[in-house]
């Protein structure tokens, strides 16, 4: 279930559009924040508040890659491995994340700390390699500084 405060947040979004379907995308983000990922319960909860069938919600959500469709760790690493980042060693970072934390591509470290998703170019080629950790942006990554950075995310 969503907390009362979250329900109010979704209700407020709903009021901003003539058709509640307009509020689907941001509402799903709120539910995702609340549930950690878009679980069946998350859809159920949004469906009740927006009055939009959950089949429709899931249909919309499944179109977008950036929702969390599976449970994720406490922190989500989105690492770019496109051309520029690849040239500057992104593949080594992928191995490092796997060896050091046990975070496989598309998976989660056994301790539930990190999930790793590989991104297409995130527009930071001039300071490659680059990644997002949750909503924070980091660039000019090396095998040394990445572990330092990740120390901040427990």
């Amino acid at each position: 279930m969503l907390s009362d405060k979250t329900i109010e947040e979704v209700e407020a979004l709903k009021r901003r559009y003539p058709d509640p379907r307009g509020a689907i995308l941001p509402s799903l983000y709120i539910a995702q924040r609340e549930f950690g990922w878009l679980s069946p319960e998350a859809f159920e909860a949004v469906s009740i508040v927006l009055g939009v069938p959950k089949a429709h919600l899931r249909g919309v959500a499944s179109f977008y890659a950036m929702y969390r469709h599976k449970p994720v760790g406490r922190h989500l690493i989105q690492l770019c491995t496109n051309v520029s980042c690849m040239i500057f060693g992104a593949e080594d970072l992928v191995s490092l994340l796997k060896n050091r934390y046990g975070a496989e591509v598309g998976g989660t470290s056994p301790d539930g700390r990190f999930s790793l998703v590989i991104m297409e170019c995130i527009g930071a080629c001039e300071a490659a390699p680059a990644m997002l950790v949750n909503e924070d942006f980091h660039n000019n990554l090396t095998e040394n500084n990445i572990t330092e950075i990740l120390e901040k995310y427990k």
Partner: protein, 826 residues
């Protein structure tokens, strides 16, 4: 009007209509896969492309509005090429398994490929080959054949208000399925099957039954509710294989509910009667028609001779044709010589007729299934027309979608409480009190035009009645906050157009004459007429049987109705029941059984060996709705033809013929050699109805507080209909039983834990009249203090618990629940 040219033809059209709509209306066909006139334009399939002069691009005609002077071409080489390419792309992943697809022969995709497609595709990709999803009871989903037009998703969500399906995924792998790929659990209306332009959605009962072109399709009227939908029934080798809606046909314009689509197979139940049966040494044994009719005639005559004609009674049937019912009434009046005749309408339609006469002064309530459309405010009172009258339900939902304010007053969460503008949760059986409270507010705040209604009898009395009420009290009784009651009263008063919609049927135990009359009072005070209160008759021919005078009240006080016939042991000596199963369908079943057992002679005429038939001395086998010609009159009073589609099993015969033969056996010829003779007389009778208006009358009715819950029976039992069933005959349908096969008891979580009841366990339900056993469904959808159960299921015996509602007023049924003892786990 807008003028434009399509393919050189000048046509005119309404502003805002699209090119496709205009073309189709003018018999110019433009191919289309994703357009459906019930839905908003979608523009997804790109098959409906047209050329418009002066426009460089090809336009999708389904989503392009017409403009003055437009010149449109729908069949040019360029368009053929474009459509060919679209089809080529649609077929890249399609398995092209037409030889084993039930849709082949009536498949839009196939037809279009036939017309515009190429024999070879330039694109080679893997064909889709996932297994079909056959888990749902009635609908098979073969996503391989899906072209992602989205019609099913939109019909289900936008139109049907169910929203069971979604387009899950992105790009080619997108699949039509429930949210999480779970088993499809929905209304089972099958609307998506008819909407699908390919073989991706199919009705399971029809799977591999026959190629569509081998079916003989005929139109008839649905045997279930009083909407009176037109069914297109497919017959092959003397058997009905499927039923579907046909675009634009009938009052339903092609829409159907699950009962009309899947329920016809009740006629193939194995308990169909094939020969007459006579009771010999306590057992019903097969007999010939001659034996049975002579035996019946003799016994009826001897009862008449000994006790007089008024010791005989008859019950008619909403499942039988108008002609059948006419003949029964004629038989009782002319051969037996009595007016003792009645039907299930006594518990619903007759009450409504009576109330309309008492209040509005009119005889027949003017019913229009489309009356919700365009109303500013619609009030639905303790009813769910989406279940009982699905076509009316669609119009209620349509009205709400188009801006009507839909206020639903109900104790239970329903589709309408979800889709409406406001749900007021009320204690079951208290809407009468609520309506009185609303009237009170109207008076107190002078919310109506007193001047224009000042001459109506009893205005003062109504005012006095409501003066004696306090809103606190009304709020106490109904459970609705005071402010909401006053707010609703103001909204109703303010609205420029209004409608009250409710239903009243034989299983209803929360509404009655009192509810209807207080709704009428409210409307009269507001200056409204009878068309603002919509209470449609219940079943396919409830209206018709009433019109045929299958009712006692045609003048003589002494005439006996359902009450004297079924609830007074020893009252009558012989009863003739046609097409009705009172032991299952009417309240207080044990009293009815006792009364029927006390009879000297009971004749039951029906299509199956019902529980009532099991008590009879003679059982006469009748043809079902699909095995005879005749008419049904729907809720609107529309007389529609039903057709003989298949032969009756064994020696079963149309009811009207049985009745004629019985008259002959009793030594009286009541005419009716052929159906046409009966129909001529029926027509005369229908023509006789003269418009009557007796003046308006307010009927002040104080709300008598329902018997309060007491320690022994703390819960209110509410009986509600199920969407997949209608009366009890539908439980003989194999298809419908795949969805809901058995009765159940819905109970609130808190009550469940209070009484130690776990979900899906057997519970014992007890009222002062008896006990029954039901499976529990613990749910948050029902309020505390109330339990819900469906009617329909003969073996559940719900009516063993209920009270007689013979006076027409609401009588609550109070019960208690307890776990039904320890059942070994697994």
């Amino acid at each position: 009007m807008i003028e434009l040219t399509i393919n050189g033809k000048k046509v005119s059209t309404e502003p805002k209509s699209t090119i496709l709509q205009t073309a189709l209306k003018n018999d110019i066909y433009i191919p289309h896969l994703c357009y459906d006139k019930r839905l908003a334009p979608y523009g997804g399939c790109r098959l409906c492309l047209v050329e418009v002069e002066g426009q460089k691009k090809l336009l999708a005609s389904c989503s392009t509005p017409t403009e003055e002077g437009m010149v449109v071409h729908t069949e040019t080489p360029k368009l053929h090429k474009a459509r060919g390419t679209v089809l080529e792309l649609l077929l890249v992943h399609h398995p092209l398994d037409c030889p084993v697809c039930d849709k082949a022969g009536e498949c839009d995709l196939q037809d279009m490929a036939y017309k515009y497609g190429k024999t070879e595709s330039r694109f080679v990709r893997q064909k889709k080959s996932s297994p079909s999803d056959i888990r749902s009871p009635l609908i098979e989903m073969s996503s391989n054949r899906c072209v992602l037009c989205g019609k099913c998703v939109r019909i289900c969500g936008e139109y049907q208000g169910c929203g069971a399906l979604g387009m899950i995924g992105r790009g080619f792998p997108t699949t039509i399925k429930p949210a999480f790929g779970d088993v499809l659990e929905c209304d089972y209306c099958g609307q998506c099957i008819d909407a699908c332009p390919t073989g991706a959605l199919l009705g399971k009962p029809y799977k591999f039954q026959a190629r569509p072109w081998l079916l003989e399709e005929k139109e008839t009227i649905c045997p279930f509710c009083s909407c009176g939908c037109t069914l297109t029934v497919g017959v092959r080798e003397g058997k009905i294989l499927r039923s579907r809606g046909s675009e634009d046909k009938g009052i339903n314009k092609g829409d159907l509910c699950g009962r009309g689509r899947f329920g016809f197979d009740y006629i193939y139940n194995k308990d169909r009667l094939k020969t007459p049966l006579i009771r010999l040494n306590g057992e019903l044994v097969p007999a010939s028609w001659q034996e049975a009719l002579l035996y019946t005639a003799e016994n009826l005559k001897s009862v008449i001779n000994t006790y007089g004609p008024s010791s005989v009674g008859a019950i008619g049937s909403h499942r039988c044709t108008t002609e059948d019912n006419y003949m029964l009434a004629k038989f009782m009046r002319n051969v037996v010589g009595t007016n003792n005749i009645d039907s299930s309408a006594r518990f619903g339609h007759a009450i409504v007729q009576n109330a309309f006469y008492m209040g509005f002064g009119v005889k027949a309530p003017p019913i229009r299934l489309d009356s919700p459309l365009g109303k500013e405010l619609i009030l639905v009172i303790e009813s769910d027309p989406t279940v009982t009258h699905p076509m009316l339900g669609l119009n209620l939902m349509g009205a709400a979608k188009n801006g009507s304010r839909l206020v639903v007053i109900d104790s239970k969460e329903t589709k309408l409480t979800r889709l409406g503008s406001k749900w007021m949760k009320l204690r079951p059986g208290t809407s009468h009190a609520l309506l009185n409270g609303i009237i009170k507010v109207l008076f107190e705040e002078s919310l109506f035009d007193r001047e224009s209604v000042k001459n109506i009898t009893n205005l003062r009395a109504i005012e006095d009645l409501t003066k004696g009420l306090s809103l606190d009290n009304v709020s106490d009784i109904t459970g609705i906050p005071k402010g909401d009651i006053a707010g609703l009263a103001r909204d109703i008063a303010k609205a420029k157009s209004r409608l009250i919609s409710m239903t009243l049927g034989v299983s209803d135990n929360t509404k009655g004459l009192d509810t209807v009359l207080s709704a009428i009072n409210l409307l009269i005070v507001l200056g409204e007429g009878p068309e603002t209160l919509q209470i449609p008759a219940e079943f396919s021919n409830t209206y018709g049987l009433y019109k045929m005078d299958v009712r006692p009240d045609t003048g003589f006080e002494a005439d006996k109705g359902v009450v004297e016939m079924l609830y007074k042991p020893g009252g009558l000596k012989a009863v003739y029941i046609v097409g009705e199963d009172p032991v299952v369908n009417f309240p207080n079943a044990s009293k009815i059984t006792e009364t029927l057992r006390a009879l000297e002679f009971l004749v039951v005429q029906d299509i199956a060996l019902t529980q009532t038939a099991g008590l009879a001395h003679v059982v006469l086998p009748a043809s079902s709705w699909a095995e005879k010609d005749g008419t049904f009159i729907n809720a609107e009073g529309l007389c529609q033809t039903i057709r003989k589609l298949v032969d009756a099993p064994g020696q079963a015969m149309p009811d009207w013929q049985i009745i004629r033969n019985l008259s002959l056996a009793m030594g009286k010829d009541i005419g009716a050699g052929r159906l046409e003779d009966v129909q001529r007389e029926v027509k005369d009778l229908l023509g006789k109805e003269s418009y009557c208006f007796n003046g308006l009358l307010l009927n002040p009715l104080p709300y008598a507080r329902l018997k309060a819950a007491d320690g022994d029976y703390p819960l209110v039992l509410v009986i509600r209909d199920l969407l997949q069933h209608s009366g009890s005959m539908s439980t003989r349908s194999r298809s419908l039983s795949l969805v809901v096969a058995d009765s159940f008891l819905e109970i609130n979580d808190a009550d469940a834990s209070k009484y130690g009841i776990s979900d899906n366990s057997y519970v014992k339900l007890t009222s002062p009249n008896g006990s029954i056993y039901l499976k529990s469904k613990v749910t948050g959808l029902v309020p505390q203090g109330v339990v819900f159960t469906p009617t329909h299921f003969p073996h559940a015996g719900v009516n063993l618990l209920t009270n007689e509602r013979t006076s027409g007023t609401t009588v609550p049924d109070m019960v208690r629940v307890e776990p039904a003892g320890a059942r070994p786990e697994r």
